[in-house]
Symmetry: C2
Subunit: 177 residues, 2 copies
C-alpha cells in the first residue's frame, strides 16, 4: 500500500495555516491544468505527449504540473524505455482516490454547463450491475459506489471525434517542427 | 427555479472547444480562490469582508472572483443596506449544486492530506438519521445522500479557533488602517 500523501501535511505552508481539508486539497489541485493532467492520467494516458495533446498545455506547463504532482505523491514516474530514457506517469493511491472529485466535477459540469441539446461526453457501464450509473455519486440503478475500476467508459461520437482531432493536430504540428 | 448556468455553454471559449464537462467546470471553478469563495458562501458567509477574512484574498482578488461567479451565474448579489449600498452574496441553484464537489474535496483532503494525529475540521450530523455520515459521498450510517441542507456542521476546536483568529486578525488590521 502506497503511503498517504504527506507533503501537504508536513511541508506545505497551507497545511500549517489551516485544518480545512478543502484548502489543503486546493494547495495541490487548485489549478485547472493540474486537474486536466489528473483527468488524462485517470483515462489511462500515461505519456507526456499524449497528455500534452489532450490538455493543450505547453511542454513547460505540463512538466511543471507533473513534477509537482510527483512531489505531492499523486503521481509516480516509471521508465518504459531506457535508450532513450522515457517515462510513463502513473497515479498513486492518493491520485487514484482523486477520481471522486473528477466524478463530482463531471456531474456538475454535465448538469449545469451544457445545453439540453448536448449529450454526455462519456457514458459509463457500471460493471457490477451492467447498467448506466448516471452522474453519481452512486449508481442510480443499483445504488452501488461508482468506483473507477468498475466503470466502463463509452465516449460520445462528438467527444471521440474531438479527442482524435486533438491527437492528429498535435502530431501534424510536430511534423512541421 | 433558477435557470441553468449558460455562459459556459454559450460564450465561454472552453465550451466551444470541448464537450468534456470537467474541462468546462474548470473554466469556471479551476482557480483555488474561486473555490475558497464558494466554500465560504456554502458556509453561509455572505458578506465581502467575512469572505475576505476567511479566504485571505485581497479585496481586488475577491472582487474579481465574485464578479466572475456572478457572470457565470453561480452567485447572486442582493442589497442588504441602501445607505450606503451594501450587498450580500448568495449561491444560485448552480452554486448550491457545487457542494458535491466541495464534499469530494473535503473527503479527499481529510483522507490524504492529514496526519493521523489531526482530527477532521468539520464533523456533520446527518439530519435524516441523526448520525455522523462520515466523509461521503453517501451517509455511512443510513446510506442516504449527503445533501448540504440536511447536514449539521460541528467545527473541531482547532478549526473554530483558526476561523475566530482570522476574523480577529482581519478586524485588527482594519482598525490600524
Amino acid at each position: 500500500m502506497i503511503k498517504k500523501v504527506t507533503r501537504a501535511t508536513i511541508s506545505s505552508p497551507v497545511a500549517k495555516e489551516t485544518a480545512c481539508p478543502v484548502a489543503r486539497a486546493l494547495s495541490i489541485v487548485g489549478d485547472r491544468w493540474t486537474v486536466l493532467v489528473l483527468r488524462e492520467l485517470t483515462m489511462g494516458n500515461r505519456r507526456f505527449e499524449e497528455i500534452q495533446a489532450q490538455t493543450g498545455a505547453t511542454p513547460q506547463m505540463l512538466a511543471a504540473r507533473l513534477k509537482n504532482l510527483e512531489t505531492d505523491r499523486l503521481v509516480e514516474r516509471r521508465p518504459y524505455s531506457t535508450r532513450p530514457l522515457r517515462h510513463e506517469y502513473y497515479l498513486t493511491e492518493a491520485g487514484l482516490a482523486f477520481y471522486s472529485v473528477l466524478l463530482a466535477l463531471r456531474s456538475w459540469g454535465e448538469t449545469w454547463l451544457k445545453s439540453d441539446k448536448e449529450e454526455r461526453a462519456i457514458n459509463y457501464t457500471h460493471i457490477p450491475c451492467g447498467q448506466d450509473p448516471g452522474l453519481g455519486p452512486v449508481c442510480e440503478k443499483c445504488g452501488g459506489e461508482m468506483r473507477q475500476d468498475q466503470l466502463l467508459p463509452r465516449f460520445s461520437e462528438a467527444f471521440a471525434r474531438e479527442r482524435d482531432a486533438r491527437k492528429a493536430a498535435f502530431k501534424a504540428a510536430r511534423v512541421k517542427d
